[in-house]
């Protein structure tokens, strides 16, 4: 069969491969190349070596600031989202009344697009700030920061919750029952049995929130667009702004994008390594 099928490469694999090559692979290679050039259109690219990479970190470029902001954001987002999602998942696996309804409600925000989410929360956060402190979200970077945290929590808690529920439901009931009979306290059961057994879900959720936080663009654009004075600009938005906001900085923007890609790739490989290890243990 295999030999027979092999002849059908053009029908089965080629179309996807062509589309992929045209819209992704070639642009990717061109992107790497352009990061070493100065250009406004591709045809006028001029080789400049590593100067774009140096410029990316110079004063006046907000890349480092965006990196720090994004990292802080990612840490806080990962912790808050996973703690909330896990706690809710615990509650929803206790066979309470209305579990399905709750699950439906908590998951729903996840389906709404980032731009729409951003404007929903801009209305609410500005409303709260104006009516309590008399300021708005552009007043201080910390409002934008916590605004983004609240927004991401709202969006992702439901998603992570679903993954945790699946993980918790996979724990054999005999185990927790046995622990109960042995007189283990609730905390002991939680930390000795539940958490170790849902570790695969925890790894997955941690990395999902982490990469999601790092790649965030739409929400950032709609909620703060970087205000005040680019202090809430995250990496993806910073790259976009460098690229399209300033004539003559396209190369720098592309160089930033390459660095960004490398960072995401490293994160992905760490994840792959960790999950592989876990699978071996199991």
């Amino acid at each position: 069969m295999e030999r027979n099928l092999k002849k059908y490469f053009a029908l089965f694999a080629l179309p996807t491969l062509t589309a992929f090559t045209i819209v992704f692979f070639i642009p990717f290679i061109m992107g790497v190349y352009l990061s070493f050039t100065e250009f406004t259109t591709i045809s006028n690219a001029r080789w400049v070596g590593f100067s774009n990479y140096i410029k990316a970190f110079e004063d006046g470029s907000n890349f480092l600031g965006a990196l720090i902001f994004t990292s802080k954001f990612a840490v806080v987002a990962v912790i808050t989202i996973n703690v909330f999602a896990f706690s809710i998942a615990m509650l929803l696996t206790k066979r309470l009344r209305g579990t399905n309804l709750f699950r439906t409600v908590f998951f729903m925000p996840n389906l709404i697009g980032g731009i729409v989410l951003g404007y929903i929360w801009q209305l609410i956060i500005n409303g709260i700030l104006i009516n309590t402190l008399g300021v708005d979200i552009t007043f201080d970077a910390k409002y934008g920061f916590w605004g983004l945290i609240v927004l991401t929590n709202w969006q992702l808690i439901g998603y992570m919750m679903i993954i945790y529920i699946a993980g918790i439901q996979n724990i054999p009931e005999e185990l927790t029952e046995a622990a109960k009979i042995d007189g283990a306290s609730r905390f002991q059961t939680l930390f000795r049995i539940t958490i170790p057994l849902v570790m695969p879900s925890i790894t997955i959720c941690t990395f999902l929130t982490l990469t999601n936080s790092f790649k965030m663009f739409d929400q950032n654009l709609a909620l703060t667009a970087g205000a005040p004075a680019d202090s809430t600009t995250m990496l993806a938005l910073d790259i976009y702004k460098t690229f399209y906001g300033r004539v003559g900085y396209e190369g720098v923007g592309q160089a930033k994008a390459v660095i960004f890609f490398v960072m995401i790739a490293v994160l992905a490989f760490i994840q792959l390594y960790l999950t592989r290890n876990k699978e071996v243990e199991n």
Binding site: V23, M30, I42, I162
Partner: protein, 278 residues
């Protein structure tokens, strides 16, 4: 169940109810403000509409006219549905082929396509839009090919994972019966892929429907999808009309909620499958 447990369960249910209300509140607040005049929204979003601030359906009418919501809905629809169909059909074929035909070429294709999943969009946004323009893919039809290329990573990955779990015997016996690979795929393999096809469809549909930057860069000036239209309200016409914005947010959310209500089970299942595999 003893008394103490019953009380503690009640407390939990109450807590969850409050939390659910908090989760729903943002949407309800936007809904409420969508009926208020545009200058009464940003300063007092928590006030119910009154006779002075009530604007009826004006915001909806305004917004629909200003950004052409119906058109935006149309574009979003004619981009999302064919893109998803294309992706499901062709990437399942590809995934089946490279899983069944073992060899270095298949493996290389698999890893390169799957690796594209981790590449952030910013890496290729400029060169890809340029490419799209050169090849005249910058229209609602051409963008289907772009989504095909960009969605290939996740879709091939998920289909390939599923194909591996299908026992070879069925396919082999069909081959002996005289099926050629095309018949084999469409009459035997593809129906078996149905559950994973649903998952792949849902994941891609959610992504493409809500996508902003890709369509904005490729076709944004001529064809505004819903996210682009919403963003365009921001300053697009000199100043943002808060009333119209509120109404458009609601109109953007409604189709999603309807879709969710109809296919909730599949969506949740699909999302989990996508997460665990991705």
């Amino acid at each position: 169940m003893n008394n103490r447990e019953r009380i503690s369960d009640t407390v939990k249910v109450i807590f969850l109810t409050v939390l659910a209300a908090v989760f729903l509140a943002p949407i309800l607040i936007v809904l409420m403000n969508s009926f208020k005049g545009q200058f009464f929204i940003s300063d007092q979003p928590f006030q119910l509409p009154n006779s002075e601030t009530w604007a009826g359906l004006n915001n909806y009418i305004n917004g629909m006219v200003k950004i052409g919501f119906l058109k935006a809905f149309y574009y979003s629809f004619i981009i999302t549905v064919p893109s998803v169909l294309t992706l499901v059909l062709f990437t399942s074929m590809t995934a089946w082929y490279i899983t069944r035909v073992k060899g270095k070429v298949s493996q290389a294709i698999f890893y390169i396509i799957v690796a594209s999943m981790i590449v952030p969009f910013q890496m290729v946004m400029f060169t890809m839009s340029k490419m799209a323009n050169i090849l005249s893919l910058d229209n609602p039809l051409g963008i289907i090919i772009i989504y095909w290329g960009f969605g290939a990573g996740l879709s091939v990955f998920m289909f390939a994972g599923f194909v591996k779990s299908i026992p070879l015997e069925i396919e082999e016996s069909a081959t002996i019966d005289g099926c050629n690979p095309v018949q084999l795929f469409f009459s035997i393999v593809f129906p078996v892929l149905k559950p994973i096809s649903i998952t792949v469809s849902i994941l891609n549909a959610m992504w493409i429907w809500n996508d902003y930057l890709l369509p904005y860069l490729v076709i944004g000036n001529n064809y505004r999808t819903i996210p682009i239209a919403v963003q365009y309200l921001q300053g697009g016409y000199g100043s943002r009309d808060m009333g119209a914005l509120m109404a458009m947010l609601i109109l953007a959310i409604v189709p999603i909620i309807i879709f969710y209500m109809l296919c909730q089970k599949h969506i949740i299942k699909g999302v989990v499958a996508g997460a665990v595999k991705g």
